[in-house]
C-alpha cells in the first residue's frame, strides 16, 4: 500500500494515543503526587513540582480507623463475588439452555432490574434491612450490591454459555452426568477465564459502589468510597489524606488489571459479541 498513507496513519495514531494517554494518566499521577505532599504544599499555586515527599497521609491511614474501611470493602466485595457466582452461574447456564419466550422475558427481566434509580430504592432497602436487623452490617451491603451485580453476572455468563457447543452437554449427559455434574465438571472448567473476568467485574463494581454503602452503613461497615466522601466534608480540607485514601482505593484495581486484564478483555468480548 501507499507508504506515505501508512506513515500518515502512524503519525495520526501516535498523536491520538499521546493525547488520550496524557488525558488519562495525568489525573492519576497528580493524585499520587498530591498524596505525598503536605497540606500546605498541595494547595500551593503555582504548583510545586519539586518537593520532599512526606508519607504522613499514609501513616494516618495505617493509624486510624480508615484501615477498617478497607477490610470492609474487601469482605463485602468477596462476599458479593461468591454470592453472585454461586447463584448466577447455574441460573445463567439454565437460561442459556432454554429457548423461546420464557427465556427471553426472563433474561430481559433480569437485565431490567439494574435500571431502577438507586436514590429511589434506598428508602425501601433501608426499611427492608432494618426489619431484617441487618443495618450497618457488611452482609447487608453485599446483599444490596447483589441486586446490581447478579443481573450483570447472569447476563454476561448467559450470553457466553450460549456460545458453547451443546454437544459438550449432550456428551456428558449421555455418560450419565446430572445437569449439576455437567455444569461443575464440564462447563465451569472450560469457562474459567470468563467466570474469572466476571468475578473481577463484580468485585470492582462492589468495591466502587457508593450510594447503597453510604446509606446502609454507619459505624461498623463503612466502605472506602464512603470514607473518601466523608473526608472531604470534614473541617480541614485534607487533600493529601483524601488523595492517599484514593490511591489506596485503587490498589485492587492495579492488582486486577495487572493480573486479569487479558481475561477481562476476552471475557467482556465474548459476552458482548455473542
Amino acid at each position: 500500500m501507499d507508504p506515505t498513507y501508512n506513515r500518515g496513519i502512524a503519525i495520526l495514531r501516535a498523536t491520538f494515543l499521546t493525547i488520550v494517554g496524557i488525558f488519562t494518566i495525568f489525573p492519576l499521577v497528580w493524585l499520587i503526587i498530591g498524596s505525598l505532599k503536605t497540606r500546605h504544599d498541595a494547595l500551593a499555586l503555582p504548583p510545586r513540582l519539586i518537593f520532599t515527599p512526606v508519607f504522613d497521609a499514609y501513616h494516618k491511614i495505617l493509624a486510624g480507623g480508615i484501615l477498617n474501611a478497607f477490610a470492609n470493602s474487601l469482605t463485602i466485595g468477596l462476599t458479593n463475588v461468591a454470592l453472585a457466582l454461586v447463584i448466577g452461574v447455574p441460573a445463567a447456564y439454565a437460561l442459556s439452555r432454554m429457548r423461546g419466550a420464557v427465556q427471553e422475558n426472563l433474561s430481559f427481566w433480569v437485565l431490567s432490574i439494574r435500571m431502577a434509580p438507586l436514590f429511589s430504592v434506598i428508602l425501601p432497602l433501608y426499611v427492608l434491612f432494618k426489619s431484617l436487623g441487618l443495618l450497618d452490617t457488611r452482609f447487608a451491603v453485599a446483599l444490596a450490591h447483589l441486586s446490581l451485580t447478579l443481573p450483570l453476572t447472569v447476563w454476561l455468563l448467559m450470553t457466553y454459555f450460549r456460545g458453547l457447543p451443546t454437544e459438550l452437554d449432550d456428551a456428558a449427559m449421555i455418560d450419565g452426568a446430572s445437569p449439576l455434574q455437567t455444569l461443575l465438571y464440564v462447563i465451569v472448567p472450560i469457562s474459567r477465564p470468563m467466570i474469572a473476568s466476571v468475578a473481577v467485574v463484580v468485585f470492582i463494581f462492589s468495591w466502587n459502589e457508593f450510594l447503597l454503602a453510604f446509606f446502609l452503613t454507619s459505624r461498623d461497615a463503612q466502605t472506602v468510597p464512603v470514607v473518601v466522601a466523608g473526608l472531604a466534608g470534614t473541617m480541614s480540607f485534607d487533600w493529601p489524606l483524601i488523595a492517599a485514601v484514593s490511591v489506596c482505593s485503587m490498589l485492587p484495581a492495579f492488582l486486577f488489571v495487572g493480573v486479569a486484564q487479558r481475561h477481562i478483555v476476552a471475557g467482556l468480548a465474548s459476552g458482548a459479541i455473542k
Binding site: V127, F214, F215, S218, V226, G230, G233, T234, M235, F237
Partner: protein
C-alpha cells in the same frame, strides 16, 4: 405514625427483644459531625478515643457513650433515615437550628426536653445560657434540642488592606459597606492583586447559602419576609392565609446577596461552601468575610499566612435598610430521639455534652470567641485570648439576634434547600434574579398549598 414504619417498628421490637441480655451500663449512641473538633476534649483529636473527662462521666453515671462521627452531609441524611424509620439506633442526634430542629420536632420524631431540664442541672443549667440559643431550639413553645457550639452574625476583615485603601473604620450599614467594597475592589484591581477577592461568602447549591441569605433578607425588610406580614409559625401563617412573598419583600435582601456575590466575590462563589469561605480567608485571598464570622475564626485557627494572623479585625454585622443587622445565627443542636430506649440517660449525656464543662473544653481546645455560656465568654481562657471589645461585640451580636429570623415551620429544610439553590442559580448567571425568584415563588405557593396551609 405511618403504616410502613409501624410494621418495621414491630419487627424491630421483636428483633430487639431477641437480641442478648441488657448490659449493666446504659448505652447512649450519638451521631454528630466534625470529629477532632467537636468534643475534642471528650473523644480526642481523632474522634475515636475516650478521654479521662468522658470516662469520669461514664463511671459516675453508669452510662457508656458511643459516639459516631460522620461528615455533616452524611450525618444529616443518617439522622433523617433513622428518625423517619423510627429505628432508634441513635439516642442523641445532631440537628442544627436551620431546619432539622423544626422539621423533626413538628413531625414528632424528637423528645421535648422541658421536663428533663431539672434532672441534670449540674451539667446543664438552662438559666446560665444565653437565652437566644435556647430560643433557637424552641419550636411551638417547647425546647427540642440543646445547643453545642453556636454563633451569631459578624464580620471578619483584613485591617491592613482596609487601611491601605484609606478606610479607617468598618462601616455600620449595608449601604456604606457597599461603597467600601467598591473602593477596595478598585484598589485591588489597580494594584494588580487579582488573586485577592473583596468579599467571601457562600453560594453553593442547596441549603448552604440560606442561613446567611435569610439574614440579608431580614436586615433589608426588617422582618422574616417569607410570608405576607412576616409570620414565623404555622399557626400564624394559617390564621392569616399568608402567601409567600419571594417576589416582593423577600427580593431586596436576596438581590443584594446575589449582587455582592457576583460583583465582589471570588469567581467560584456559586459553588462555595463555608469550607471554601474559610480557606480563602485563611490563605489571605479575601478581604471581608461575612456574615457568618465564625468561619473567619475557623480560618484564623489554621492559617499559615502572617498577614491574616496579624491583621484580622472583627466588626459587628452591618445594619440593613430596615435598621436591623444582617443575621447569621446558628446552633449545633443535639436532640433526644423519640425512639430512644433510654431517654433519661440520653438526656443526662446530652446535658453533659452541651454543659458548661463541655463548653469550657471547647474554649480550651478550639478557642473561638463564641460560647453558649456567658461565664465562659467572660472566663479566663477566652478573655486571655481575645480583646474585651471583641467579646463585647460578640455578645452584642447574640442580643441583637432574632433566632427566628426565618419562619419556624416544618417545611423549613425544603425552603432552605430551594432558597439556597435559587441563590446559586442567580449568582452563576444560570437564571436572572427575577426568574429565580419567580420559580421559587411558584414552588413555595404549591408546596404550602399542598401542606394544607390555606384550606
Amino acid at each position: 405514625m405511618t403504616a410502613a414504619p409501624r410494621i418495621s417498628l414491630a419487627l424491630a421490637a421483636i428483633i430487639a427483644t431477641a437480641s442478648g441480655p441488657a448490659l449493666a451500663d446504659t448505652e447512649v449512641n450519638i451521631l454528630a459531625f466534625a470529629p477532632g473538633f467537636a468534643w475534642a476534649d471528650m473523644f480526642g483529636p481523632s474522634g475515636t478515643e475516650k478521654t479521662d473527662k468522658l470516662r469520669a462521666f461514664e463511671e459516675a453515671e453508669g452510662i457508656v457513650v458511643n459516639m459516631e462521627f460522620a461528615d455533616e452531609e452524611t450525618a444529616r441524611q443518617k439522622v433523617l433515615l433513622d428518625l423517619v424509620n423510627e429505628t432508634g439506633t441513635y439516642d442523641l442526634v445532631m440537628l442544627g437550628s436551620d431546619g432539622a430542629v423544626q422539621t423533626f420536632s413538628y413531625a414528632g420524631y424528637l423528645e421535648p426536653l422541658d421536663d428533663y431540664l431539672d434532672t441534670a442541672k449540674d451539667y446543664f443549667d438552662a438559666d446560665q445560657v444565653y437565652p437566644q440559643f435556647l430560643e433557637a431550639n424552641t419550636v411551638n413553645g417547647k425546647l427540642w434540642a440543646l445547643p453545642y457550639y453556636s454563633f451569631g452574625a459578624g464580620v471578619i476583615y483584613r485591617k491592613d488592606l482596609f487601611e491601605k485603601y484609606g478606610i479607617d473604620e468598618f462601616p455600620g450599614t449595608v449601604a456604606e459597606l457597599e461603597d467600601v467594597l467598591r473602593t477596595i475592589k478598585a484598589g485591588l484591581e489597580a494594584d494588580g492583586m487579582d488573586d485577592v477577592h473583596t468579599l467571601t461568602m457562600r453560594g453553593a447549591p442547596g441549603e448552604e447559602p440560606s442561613l446567611d441569605l435569610a439574614g440579608f433578607v431580614y436586615a433589608d425588610a426588617g422582618f422574616p419576609a417569607w410570608f405576607e406580614g412576616g409570620p414565623t409559625t404555622p399557626e400564624d401563617i394559617k390564621a392569616n392565609k399568608a402567601k409567600p412573598i419571594f417576589t416582593s419583600e423577600f427580593r431586596g435582601g436576596f438581590e443584594r446577596f446575589v449582587e455582592w456575590s457576583k460583583e465582589f466575590g471570588p469567581p467560584g462563589i456559586a459553588t462555595h461552601t463555608w469550607v471554601d469561605m474559610m480557606n480563602l480567608y485563611g490563605q489571605g485571598q479575601a478581604v471581608v468575610l461575612m456574615p457568618s464570622a465564625i468561619n473567619g475564626f475557623a480560618a484564623l485557627g489554621g492559617t499559615q499566612d502572617e498577614n491574616v494572623r496579624d491583621h484580622t479585625g472583627f466588626a459587628p454585622s452591618p445594619v440593613g435598610a430596615s435598621g436591623k443587622p444582617v443575621q447569621s445565627f446558628w446552633t449545633f443542636s443535639v436532640g433526644v430521639s423519640a425512639q430512644s430506649a433510654n431517654k433519661e440517660a440520653a438526656y443526662k449525656t446530652l446535658a453533659f455534652l452541651t454543659g458548661e464543662q463541655a463548653m469550657q473544653g471547647f474554649a480550651e481546645s478550639i478557642g473561638w470567641p463564641y460560647s453558649t455560656f456567658p461565664s465562659i465568654t467572660r472566663g479566663e481562657v477566652l478573655t486571655a485570648k481575645w480583646p474585651t471589645e471583641l467579646l463585647d461585640q460578640v455578645e452584642a451580636s447574640y442580643e441583637q439576634a432574632n433566632p427566628h429570623y426565618f419562619p419556624y415551620i416544618p417545611e423549613l429544610s425544603a425552603f432552605m434547600e430551594r432558597i439556597g439553590t435559587a441563590a446559586s442559580e442567580a449568582i452563576s448567571g444560570e437564571k436572572s434574579v427575577e426568574e429565580a425568584l419567580n420559580d421559587l415563588q411558584n414552588w413555595a405557593e404549591e408546596r404550602m398549598e399542598r401542606a394544607g396551609y390555606y384550606e
